[in-house]
Assembly symmetry: C2
Homo-oligomer: 337 residues x 2
């Protein structure tokens, strides 16, 4: 049963914190060459993954990550009550087509690159609320599908600005359950859509930073906690420029997170990989959370992490029509009790 | 607090059924000329609604419907805990940009034309579960934005097949609350993605019918109810051909719904309006539910309705890559106690 949250608050506190009983991640070769290489379940070196389009390759990666998560927990599809998923492709086809194969009752989500954390937050409410014994939450992105949908045909080889980020090729999936062993989700802070007027679609980190900062500060206000209550605060895909901005914006709101804050988009690639500002995409926070963060908790190195999925809510159409880029951030507390 | 559903079931039963305390709908001129004209809150005759693009017009319609729903309930934005919305446009920009203006913590959904019912189902779980006192669920579609995104530039005047449906221009919004007066949501049945191999993107009704039929039959199996327990069973946007198919598929599963079943896409236009098979789009089930169905319940004519939002989970890309069209259906029981 849930603790009713007070009016005006954005944070839900779970009374029976849902357990992360299994996670799995599948990534592409660039991610497999990066510093987190050892934390992924599978590295796929062929960008087509044996399929005849990158879109189908992305679907296959999501499918693989879901099957792997089930397998690790010795579960089958019909042990799962709901599948929650979303991705960057128009009409979230990676998720819908994977749901067609999985055959699990499906709730489609869209939070751009914040989708993994939206799925964890909503999934945790469905489990804690007693509507599901187990939910499967997942997401994916693929450099080649995202690049050609949002920007240019990859074959053009268009020069990228230094603030640009590299869309992670990867899929991550999490099984949340009412019972079992693993880290638990104790809180979820649902973010507002915030737009400070950033209109450069080559600088998503700056577009998302205000929303990330707002959600982080709101989380502290709602819970009465301080940055020191967390071993790690990690955003999804703000990368180098967005991270700096977020740190500063959170400081302006009265909280210094600098000595315990990093970003999945910074961790996933090394400086020598020529990805400019860092990683992005739905897969970025998903595979870092499913691999690296779970490892930190399992090893006992960290006890309590504040993860903040971040999303830039643009479309090619909105950019072409002169709109600025709104951002969103959803935070989830993951804790090893 | 929620009734835990049994393993393998797709239906959630609410112990404290969330109340529909307010609904509002805004539609375009074709819908305003149709048989349900008197049930909408506002008819907008200019396809641009005073904006410089159809996309911005659609956003304004969603915004208007949300403001109107708040106004009818004498509520303000900060009385709402979460906004749940989605739409057909790439990266659900109608919803994200409206959420930017509303300033309510936002959960983006994507269920194609089933989105209103996905929002009602998830929203009801968040309210019944104690995570929110009130949620605002909404969606929108616009003939001109959908047509140019999914099919052809409207200026081309391409001939349409007789199975084609007309995307409803309209937005509908619902406020669900823990307390208040109005019809209540007692059950939600979350659908699976089903694809029977229909590949004609000019016949969405046939693509969605198997999923709708599956959800309807599953609802009866889960609850032990029969068609006769409902005054009305209504699907979202299957229109003439899809409705016939659904009726037959449900009959094959052992239930005869023929004498109490209709479809929002059939009701919204008259035969003389030259819309071929009928209406479709996220707005279709939304505005019919927010207007006409609420009226039936309020007047006491009907006591209990099974509404089934239906969605075709295609994208231009998936069609171009030769994929068939998967469908989904989410059912919600709306009852005047």
């Amino acid at each position: 049963m849930a603790a009713p949250k007070k009016n005006g608050m954005q944070t839900v506190v779970f009374q029976n914190p849902p357990v992360i009983i299994s996670t799995a991640s599948v990534v592409g070769s660039r991610e497999g060459d990066g510093p987190l290489a050892g934390t992924f379940d599978k590295v796929v070196t062929d960008t087509y993954y044996g399929e005849d389009s990158w879109e189908k390759a992305e679907q296959r990666m999501m499918f693989d990550s879901m099957k792997k998560a089930l397998q690790k927990a010795s579960l089958k599809e019909n042990d799962i009550d709901f599948m929650l998923a979303g991705d960057l492709l128009n009409q979230i086809i990676s998720s819908s087509f994977t749901a067609r194969t999985m055959g699990i009752p499906f709730l489609g989500l869209y939070g751009a690159c914040s989708t993994m954390y939206e799925g964890l937050a909503v999934g945790a409410m469905l489990v804690d609320g007693g509507y599901a014994d187990r939910v499967l939450a997942g997401t994916s992105s693929h450099y080649c599908t995202a690049e050609r949908q949002y920007r240019f045909p990859t074959e053009l080889g268009v020069q990228r600005s230094m603030t640009a980020q590299w869309t992670v090729t990867g899929a991550g999936s999490v099984i949340l359950a009412r019972e079992g062993s693993g880290p638990v989700i104790t809180h979820a802070t649902i973010g507002k859509v915030i737009d400070m007027g950033q209109g450069d679609s080559q600088d998503m980190g700056a577009a998302m930073a205000p929303a990330a900062a707002d959600t982080i500060a709101r989380h502290f206000m709602d819970t009465g906690r301080k940055p020191e209550d967390y071993d790690l605060i990690i955003t999804g895909d703000l990368a180098a420029f967005g991270k700096k901005l977020t740190e500063e914006l959170v400081r302006q709101k009265g909280y210094d997170i600098s000595n315990r804050y990093t970003d999945c988009g910074i961790l996933i690639y090394s400086g020598s990989q020529d990805v400019h500002a860092g990683g992005s995409g739905c897969g970025c926070s998903a595979v870092v959370t499913c691999g690296y963060l779970m490892g930190l908790l399992d090893s006992g190195r960290y006890k309590r992490i504040l993860g903040v999925g971040t999303g830039a809510l643009l479309s090619s159409c909105s950019v072409q029509q002169g709109e600025t880029v709104p951002g969103i951030g959803h935070a989830v507390v993951i804790e090893k009790l």
